[in-house]
Amino acid sequence: MKYSVDENGFYGKFGGAYVPEMLFPNVEELRENYLKIMAEPDFQEEMQSLLRDYVGRPTPLYFAKRLSEKYNTNIYLKREDLNHTGAHKINNTIGQILLAKRLGKTRIIAETGAGQHGVATATVCALMNLECIVYMGEVDIERQAPNVARMNMLGATVVPAASGSKTLKDATNEAIRDWINNPEDTYYIIGSVVGPHPYPDMVARFQAVISEEMKAQLLEKTGSENPDYVVACVGGGSNAAGAFYHYLDTPEVKLVAVEAAGLGIDSGESAATSVLGKEGIIHGSRTLLMQTEDGQVTEPYSISAGLDYPGVGPLHAHLHQSGRAIFESITDEEALQAVLELTRLEGIIPALETAHALAAIGRLGAKPEEVVVINLSGRGDKDLATYLDRFNFDGK
């Protein structure tokens, strides 16, 4: 089984570039250039130095002693939360902004759900002195207010998306429409392994630094590059793609992708695409997608804005269908419990998205001698209002 993208942009039967003709020249320009530019020595040099000195890479691989004791196994946390701006998203925006500059683009657009990708995009735009427009669903603007403030402070324009469920899907629609309207000067920095080819492959490559570092760090700490499990949450799937990337062809490493069940798989309020989705086309990609019998995209739900998406990247659709990855889904309530657990056991407040990955630890059945790596995709600062609202800290 092959897990990398083929020359037509497909992972098995998923992927491709199902875009209206208006977008064809843009997507084609990117497809023709991305690998070439990424291979240029001066591109690599500039990217590596920014990742090291600006983002703060490599991020630590931390042995979580008390969490390990609780689950009676060996748990390591890949600390993407310690990146500049607080999540893995900046690995990708650094790469794409350097690409955009080399393509001569002067105006940057992005979509965001949790606001982490929006902040990471606004950050690199400030750094590179480029105009930045971020589309964000109205619901998400409300529930991730600190990130909206950060984007404004960084000089980005945040445009509310008011259609549909007013979340990530709709923000993505608006960003795509902007790109149709501005085909020449504008570069669209997609925030996950979604969208038309080459985006899923390109974003996965920029996030692959996560598993690249993991391997070296594990070798040093455990004597083997390979853990027994790698666990990551999946919205579109970029942090998971990065954490899985260098293990895709190592079948003894079990890959666990964790989706948001929302109020429960059968509640009608969920975002667990691998369970509820069928094959279809969303945002230019053939993938698994939550939809009605008539092919209308269903409005998803999750407490976590970053996982509140009715699709999943085509790589993950392929990993699901081929059985290479195990898919779990975690409810809002379970995720919230995991937030509190990590906070009290390890002194780390995780993002709501990340908490879904943490909540799956108990389901792995990991043995005492086994090694589990959780990709700690982001920190919880942006979610404090939700946490304060949900937890009663009086007397605790």
Binding site: N8, G16, A17, Y18, V19, P20, E21, M22, F24, P25, S163, G164, K169, N173, I176, R177, I180, N181, N182, P183, E184, K278, E279, G280, I281, I282, H283, G284, L289, Q291, E293, D294, G295, Q296, V297
Partner: protein
Amino acid sequence: MENRIQQLFAQKPKGLLSVYFTAGFPSLEDTVPIILELEKNGVDLIEIGMPFSDPLADGPTIQQSSEVAIRNGMTIPKLFAQLQDIRQHTQIPLVLMGYLNPVMQYGVERFMQKASELGIDGLILPDLPLSDYVREYKELFEQNGLSNIFLITPQTPEQRIREIDAHTNGFIYMVSSASVTGSTTGQSVVNTGYFERVNGMGLRNPGIIGFGIHNHETFTQACNHASGAIIGSAFIKALAKEGSLTENISTFIQSIRQNEIA
């Protein structure tokens, strides 16, 4: 055998008015009345929009008409049921336009057969890539006598326009400028350089200009550079007005044609 689209262009190579509307808007059962009324008012070709929840290439007007239509209960099976006897009432060329996902869920092959049975002449599926069309679907279109209509834009390279021209057999949909549907910034749609460049290529298919055509002036300008023009969002806005469907349609079409002979 020629389908009605090909016959139309053979008979009337200039000044064609094509109108797009979203099936199920303003009311679920308006589909057939709108078609018949458009024909009565001298429209040459009709594009029936199949609503989709996430219409990426559309501006606010068609986003809203699509949302209303879906809420009204419009689906592909419902539309096909409405069009069951359409060819007993009109011979106007009919094109179905929509996004690929609902068609995929219905079943592409089944969709084409059914469309053909009903007397549909062509399809516009903006997110069906040319490469997929050629590889997987071209034969199916041809077997069912359906023209697949492709879009081009001012940014489409010449080589690709030629490829599109080679693979289609209805007309080429020339998107007037880089934009989603319904943009009417500025009175003029005259992107003369682009239209003339395409006209100078000696393509085998005729072209019609669409996107942003919204009144008599823009319609006439477009007709000066192509076989005709397509009006969508402006017509949907007219349908949404107070008053009867019949009145709204005839007032709008008259305002476009004005003193021209239909």
